[in-house]
Symmetry: C2
Subunit: 190 residues, 2 copies
């Protein structure tokens, strides 16, 4: 359901094709809501069946035809209803594979583990750089606070990514240090 609401929300910005939606997901909200392209097309179909979006085909020359989706008043209302009704439990189920592996870390070669943790740090730091750039870009629209409420909320979500990913990087770095300590201890006791 939430993916449908995410699509509706993005369509309030402007009418878009499935393809454009996919790249918007990837470039703006991917760090807190990921979506596959096949899922987007599927959900767009479902939304059209419900009358929450309409589509029109725009022929193009040289490029494939576009199918542009527009949110309807009913779609807008459905989005608003969803926004007004928070679920009983806000924190969702987590599935974090790297942590699961580390839980069974005594069965993994420490060197391999360290290699993977370093890779994780690199991955997360790349996202952090993007988020920092996004944050700076948002500041521009924030000069008169309270005016651009939209940029205000976008920045809150960016801040979430920054704080959480920074915590993850810090964790991975502490893990690296601890594992090295463990290795040194094992060498000493032999």
């Amino acid at each position: 359901m939430s993916l449908q609401k995410g699509i509706l929300g993005l369509l309030t910005l402007k009418p878009m094709t499935g393809y454009e939606l996919k790249s918007l997901f990837d470039n703006s909200i991917n760090y807190f809501w990921a979506a596959q392209q096949s899922q987007i097309y599927r959900e767009l179909g479902a939304l059209e069946n419900k009358g929450y979006v309409t589509s029109r085909i725009e022929p193009q020359t040289g490029k494939p035809d576009k199918k542009v989706y527009t949110i309807t008043p009913q779609g807008d209302e459905a989005l608003q209803t969803w926004l007004n009704t928070f679920p009983a439990k806000l924190s969702m189920a987590i599935r974090d594979e790297i942590t699961l592996r580390i839980f069974f870390g005594d069965r993994i070669d420490p060197e391999e583990l360290k290699f993977q943790l370093k890779k994780l740090v690199k991955e997360k730091q790349e996202v952090l750089e993007v988020l920092r750039a996004m944050n700076e870009a948002c500041k521009g629209f924030m000069t008169d606070i309270g005016r651009d409420k939209d940029a205000f909320f976008k920045r809150l979500t960016i801040k979430k990514g920054l704080l959480v990913f920074e915590a993850e990087v810090r964790w991975a770095e502490e893990c690296l240090k601890d594992i090295e300590g463990l290795q040194a201890d094992i060498r000493d006791t032999v």
Copy 2:
């Protein structure tokens, strides 16, 4: 797939029933890997088909019969293979509903938003308290470091929960402050 590996990993501790596995998931690794009871039974069936676990029925008096699952050498090997082969991308797709809602926060009543954020803080802080207790409990097994490698890795995962959830609480609290600031600004400019 990972859920199956999680089940296999927990079964290395001791043979267990689906019911016991569910409560182990809930009480120990829930904060980084959640599982539904119906999913656990389904995956246990799949694991049995693959020959990764075997089951025997233990009759009980007064209580329903138990079906105790034991990991097989093949299951152990499958787990080991999985632990040795890390995926190309370590960070998994995130779906974080509260952040999605805040992204469209300009369409939500600020008072409602604040109420929900406070609820989120409370939820997360409850988990944090459990994690802190778990962390203290683990310390007991850590007096001679390097010995109890198992407790060592369990603590690393606890640390992840602590750092990430603390970051989330900090974020929610900053959000609350920022939203109050926004409300004050709006009052002033009217």
